[in-house]
């Protein structure tokens, strides 16, 4: 097993018995490799299997089938207390009956590190999370953000091979969450430890991660860098879950090299560049981001579709136009409000042209 991977999941299956007596695959034959030193996010809606995956890496759940390697060593059936990983829990799970110091040094104590070294490293860890001198407090006396940092210090003091974070910012308010996002990212770069980060917040995942695995219904749909996932989503679910996407459903009319001709019934014909091979008549979705569409700004050699504005939504930085085409297709167009004397490009009920290049949309079949 190559050692460049901090964690490797090989065809991991986790089944649960549902209250109704059925069998549910919370994680359905997932394979992924997490590189050493990477900030890796597991992203998906609740129930997609991201937390179960994390819990299997931590050792709180054992896989029904498949293998989990940590630093090249198989750990699939090793109990949690023997794994070289540490976890930051969603609700922090600090020990309420212990002081901050006792909490943070718990892992070192279990390893049998001498007392003097423990207390030195606790102060270092508190420095690192910018809460020096908090040793004697009880967790209850700290704010949510402070508890969060103590939980982080308690995990990182053990210098784990991998740090697992289960929606650690979920309980914080928006402003603090944004601050902590940056702080976590900086911290990760400083300590150089592999972070595996579970979140349902796509913006959070895009901001912080080196790579993201988008999960749904127990499957890892796409694994890649934020840019790759945003610009080249592999499935309709990924395109829809990450950011906003217009889906124009139609069928393939012909393919000439990399140029695919798609018939959007009633709306018109569009040409889209794609490296994939399609068969004539195959049902496809033209997936286009709202910011990649423009209004009344025809593109030569691009696609220009006629439609009618149904709604105009002004949101400060941008204005969103909801356009309905002749067929049943609808699209949302985002125009940035660059000029100060912002003027609506179109009003509700206006006939408009929606344009996009041949390269900007994706052709998705599933």
């Amino acid at each position: 097993m190559a050692n460049e991977f901090a964690v490797e999941m090989q065809d991991v299956l986790k089944q649960f018995v549902t209250p109704e007596g059925g069998i549910l695959a919370a994680v359905n034959h997932v394979t992924m490799q997490i590189k050493d030193g990477e900030f890796f996010s597991l992203l998906g809606p609740s129930g997609c299997g991201k937390t179960t995956s994390l819990r299997m890496i931590a050792g709180f759940e054992l896989p029904t089938d498949g293998k989990i390697f940590i630093r090249g060593k198989e750990m699939s059936q090793v109990p949690a207390f023997q794994r070289p990983v540490n976890t930051v829990f969603q609700q922090y799970a600090l020990f309420p009956h212990m002081t901050v110091e006792q909490n943070i040094q718990f892992g070192l104590e279990m390893k049998g590190v001498p007392r003097a070294e423990r207390s030195r490293r606790v102060s270092e860890a508190l420095e690192m999370v910018r809460l020096p001198g908090m040793e004697m407090r009880k967790p209850k006396q700290l704010s949510g953000g402070q508890q969060q940092r103590i939980a982080l210090a308690r995990a990182l003091i053990n210098k784990p091979e991998v740090l697992l974070l289960d929606e650690p910012l979920g309980a914080l308010d928006l402003k603090l969450r944004k601050e902590m996002q940056l702080e976590l990212k900086t911290l990760q770069r400083e300590v150089g430890i592999t972070f595996i980060y579970v979140t349902h917040d796509q913006e959070e995942a895009l901001t912080m991660s080196d790579r993201i695995a988008v999960m749904s219904k127990g499957l890892a749909l796409q694994i890649g860098a934020p840019e790759e996932i945003y610009e080249r989503p592999a499935t309709k679910f990924v395109a829809d879950f990450i950011g906003e996407t217009n889906f124009l459903d139609g069928s393939v009319k012909g393919q000439n090299g990399t140029t695919v001709e798609v018939d959007l019934p009633g709306t018109g014909i569009v040409f889209v560049e794609s490296s994939r091979k399609f068969t004539n008549g195959q049902a496809v979705s033209v997936a286009a981001r709202p910011e990649k569409l423009s209004l009344n700004n025809e593109i030569k050699d691009g696609n220009n579709l006629k439609g009618r504005v149904e709604e105009v939504i002004y949101i400060g930085t941008d204005t969103h136009y909801g356009v309905r085409f002749a067929g049943s297709h609808k699209a949302r167009v985002r125009e940035q409000n660059i000029s100060q004397a912002h003027k609506e490009i179109a009003k509700t009920g206006d006939e408009v042209t929606v344009s996009f290049t041949r390269t900007s949309p994706r052709l998705l079949t599933e």
Binding site: G59, F81, T87, A93
Partner: protein, 303 residues
């Protein structure tokens, strides 16, 4: 304190509180003073007290030196009563320990079930309360008797040749007391364990604690309030118990409760019974005060 009762609100408060306060005053506090009074006077010939009352502290000195009694024979043991007290405390500790050892895992098991099962199992724990205590104790006596259920069962299986002496000894009393007081241990411990957040055990394991260490360092300290409550709720009544030692011990096992009971019955020595009641109360009071002194805010609230 009196300014509480000023004004209209205060008047209503006074109206609401006084029946309960009066009840406690009349039927709990005042009787203790009566007991104190009786313990300080000489006994009457046929029970009750000698009239007009003659004050004495003999009833207390008799407790610490049994030979100081005018009825003491030549071979008397001066520490007879102190010894019985010590014996009761020992039985109390054994019973309490077993109730906690048996009740804790059971409470843990119940707390881990689904809501509907938890409720059902807790009802099963409580149901015995609805049967009269005396009936239950007599039933248990039938189980342990020489010709009883347990002995017949073991004999039929040829595990034993002759019946075991399971009744009318300390073993029987201890079993009877554990049987009677186990629910009192389960209820407070269950309340504590049910509130315990099991994620903390995952956190401990995550930080490298094997299950046993995680239990001692995290789960037990966090559920200790329930354990201490169980300790007090079982120990206090068990030390003073008299029905169970009477029935299960068949008059052969003497405890404080049976001793006091006898002073108001056949011995017709009310003052000595009263003095021992107060000594027992003092003993329990000292225990509880020591406990409150050493306990934290949280433990106290669990009571």
């Amino acid at each position: 304190m009196l300014k509480f009762f000023r004004g209209k609100k205060g008047f209503q408060l006074f109206g609401l509180l006084s029946p309960g306060a009066l009840w406690i005053l009349l039927f709990f506090n005042l009787p203790i003073l009566i007991v104190l009074f009786i313990s300080l006077v000489e006994r009457g010939r046929a029970g009750g007290i000698k009239l007009p009352p003659e004050y004495t502290i003999d009833n207390y000195s008799q407790f610490f030196n049994a030979c100081s009694s005018q009825f003491a024979g030549p071979e008397c043991d001066p520490f007879l009563y102190v010894g019985i007290f010590g014996h009761s405390v020992r039985i109390g500790l054994i019973v309490t320990l077993w109730c906690i050892l048996l009740g804790y895992p059971l409470s843990y098991f119940i707390s881990k079930q689904k809501q509907i099962w938890r409720d059902a199992l807790m009802i099963l724990v409580i149901i015995p309360f609805w049967t009269n205590f005396l009936v239950r104790t007599y039933a248990l006596k039938q189980v342990l008797a020489t010709e009883g259920l347990l002995n017949s069962f073991l004999m039929n299986l040829n595990l034993i040749n002759q019946p075991l002496d399971l009744l009318f000894n300390e073993f029987a009393v201890v079993v009877g007391l554990i049987y009677g007081y186990l629910p009192f241990a389960i209820l407070p411990m269950y309340a504590s364990i049910e509130k315990f957040d099991h994620t903390l055990m995952e956190a401990a394991a995550d930080l490298g604690a094997p299950p046993r260490r995680a239990f001692w360092r995290v789960m037990l300290p966090m559920t200790l309030p329930g354990v201490v409550a169980a300790l007090v709720l079982v120990f206090v009544p068990v030390v003073g118990a008299f029905i169970t030692p009477d029935i299960m011990g068949g008059g052969k096992v003497e405890m404080i409760g049976t001793l006091i009971n006898r002073q108001f019955g056949v011995a017709r020595n009310w003052p000595f019974g009263s003095s021992m009641s107060l000594i027992l109360m003092l003993l329990v009071l000292i225990g509880v005060v020591l406990y409150f002194r050493s306990s934290t805010e949280e433990t106290r609230r669990a009571m």
